[in-house]
């Protein structure tokens, strides 16, 4: 079952253009010039129920704009959106009961109140009965380990604790889809890991569909089975994580530490990334040359240390952003 269906989605912004300096400011006041920016150009995709999907792209690629249209914050110019069978433009309120959103950079909690008071408030916004809210809070308190600070005002919490509370606040009404916009931004690796585990658990236990944007490759690699990459308002890749890796995994990185200097040149399927005489870094395209052929070029007795690894996902994504295929 598809919970999100998007077809030919477009959105254009009109942005005021200003010339330099003070005179420019006055000029734009008298006769404003507008520039059209196509934030989203003809995007189509479907998301199935229970999927964890990564929606990634460089800054300004149109990720946030797309999320905002899916959640009913922005109106789309053309195309159709269908979230849980609801058109976000027309039935914003009805949609709000079905989805939850966490924007890593914008807080929605009341900073002067305790998480507990916050959760109670958010629950009542969604018309939940008091007993239901209490039950939910108790449940999440265990899953998200909130016991320590559930009665401390939010302003005194650490960023990691606050993000956990943000996620709980957006889950209080049992949404079917959770939109996470950079949930782990600014967190330390341990807390990041912790948040990822929680998100995974949410997905498993409640079958919540998760729509994630992040610049953190770890988030994407550990959580998502499917990746959509957007750039300049268009989808450049929509594939499963395995496929993505497989495609790019036919490239291997070989790092060598040698006893004596060797001279190697680029040859078929082999690119030299770094050559410092004793230390070498090669990229081998296994479609063209097998690893064993590549290794034959090197005198085995001369090797002190060798390390063969995959191309990191981060580099894969970087090269997709740049448009290399």
């Amino acid at each position: 079952m598809n919970v999100i269906e998007v077809k030919n989605l477009c959105k254009t912004f009109k942005v005021k253009e200003k010339e330099k300096g003070f005179i420019g400011s006055i000029k734009s006041l008298i006769k404003p010039k507008y520039k059209k920016i196509e934030a989203v150009k003809d995007i189509s995709f479907d998301v199935e129920k229970g999927q964890i999907i990564a929606f990634i792209g460089p800054n300004g690629a149109g990720k946030s704009t797309t999320i905002k249209m899916l959640t009913g914050i922005l109106y789309n110019d053309s195309g159709t959106i269908n979230v849980m069978g609801i058109n976000p433009n027309k039935k914003r309120k009805k949609l709000a009961y079905e989805i939850g959103c966490v924007f890593g950079q914008k807080e929605q909690l009341w900073t002067h109140l305790t998480p507990y008071d916050n959760f109670k408030f958010f629950g009542s916004i969604y018309d939940l009965e008091n007993s239901v809210i209490e039950k939910k809070i108790k449940e999440f308190k265990e899953i998200f380990e909130l016991d320590e600070f559930i009665n401390t005002p939010v302003r005194n919490l650490s960023l990691g604790q606050r993000i956990r509370c943000e996620i709980v606040a957006s889950l209080i009404h049992d949404p079917k889809i959770l939109f996470l916009d950079e949930p782990t931004i600014g967190l330390d690796p341990i807390v990041k890991e912790n948040i990822r585990t929680l998100i995974k658990r949410m997905n498993k236990e409640y079958k919540t569909t998760i729509f994630l944007t992040s610049h953190d490759v770890g988030d994407i690699e550990k959580l998502c089975k499917r990746v959509i990459i957007v750039n300049k308002g268009e989808i450049v890749l929509d594939d499963s994580m395995e496929n993505l890796k497989y495609h790019y995994l036919n490239k291997k990185i070989i790092e060598l530490k040698m006893k004596e200097k060797v001279n190697l040149d680029d040859s078929k399927g082999i690119t030299i990334l770094k050559d410092k005489g004793y230390n070498l870094k090669l990229e081998v395209d296994t479609k063209k040359t097998s690893i064993s052929d590549a290794l034959k070029l090197i005198d085995a007795n001369n090797i002190i240390d060798i390390n063969i690894s995959n191309v990191p996902l981060e580099d894969i994504i970087k090269s997709i952003y740049k448009g290399e295929k």
């Binding site: 914050i73 914008k106 916004i125």
Partner: protein, 257 residues
């Protein structure tokens, strides 16, 4: 009701800092008495302005202050609406299954401004004790209508200026012309001004129906019974304001994140 839930939570927030709250409350209370002193000292020179005595002017003054303070206290979210738009926090409201205008009201509720409301009520009571009106039922109704319409007109102006932010993102000055500017003018019975102002405050921003036309009836300067319900014209003013607000939401373009 949603508003009371917000009210409770705002109260909780403000009472987190008790000392600051009490100090601000007291200072607000006294600072704005200055306004009233200006009028009283003005009238110590002149016994009346175009036939209006000091208590009659204080009555219009009190009514306008009441409406303004009421809106500033309970609908402060609208007054600070441009912040909501500029920092992109308006998104948050759109994600909740509630009426947006209602949420915008609730975004901020300023209990400190309650001191101004209290003050205007005190001034009104003093005025009503001293003013030369024999109160009958229709005059009491007129007075109540005047108070309600004073709240309504400021509410419409707040909504109107808030919608302005959708179109310009930041629009402070126009708001001040409408709110503070017209507030200062309308604190006096508008009959004392030139004809242009009277037309403006009758047809463009109907302050005249809040505190001038019904005042004439209240003071016995006119016997036209229609003037009793004239304050209700402000309701008509409220409707297009709300319509413009909703039109603005469609134009809303959020901010980058």
């Amino acid at each position: 009701m949603l508003y009371f839930k917000y009210f409770k939570i705002h109260t909780k927030c403000e009472l987190e800092y008790k000392m600051s709250f009490i100090m601000s409350f007291i200072s607000q209370f006294f600072v704005f008495f200055g306004y009233y002193f200006t009028i009283i000292s003005l009238f110590s020179k002149f016994s009346n302005i175009k036939g209006f005595t000091v208590y009659e002017v204080l009555l219009t003054f009190g009514i306008i202050q009441f409406g303004f303070a009421f809106c500033e206290t309970f609908f402060r979210g609208l007054d600070k609406f441009d912040d909501l738009i500029v920092y992109g926090n308006f998104d948050r409201l759109l994600l909740r299954p509630r009426n947006i205008l209602m949420q915008a009201f609730c975004e901020q509720i300023s209990l400190i401004k309650l001191s101004r409301l209290l003050q205007s009520i005190i001034v009104l009571i003093i005025t009503l004790i001293n003013i030369d009106i024999t109160f009958s039922i229709d005059k009491i109704i007129t007075l109540i209508f005047m108070l309600i319409s004073s709240v309504l007109i400021f509410l419409s102006i707040f909504i109107l200026t808030a919608s302005y932010c959708f179109f310009t993102v930041k629009g402070l000055e126009v708001r001040n012309i409408l709110t503070d500017g017209s507030k200062h003018m309308a604190q006096y019975p508008i009959g004392i001004f030139k004809k242009g102002f009277v037309t403006f405050f009758t047809f463009i921003i109907p302050f005249g129906f809040v505190n001038y036309y019904p005042l004439l009836y209240l003071l016995g300067k006119s016997d036209n019974k229609l003037l009793i319900i004239s304050p209700l014209i402000t309701v008509i003013y409220l409707i297009p304001s709300i319509a413009i607000f909703y039109k603005g939401i469609k134009k809303y373009s959020s901010t980058g994140s």
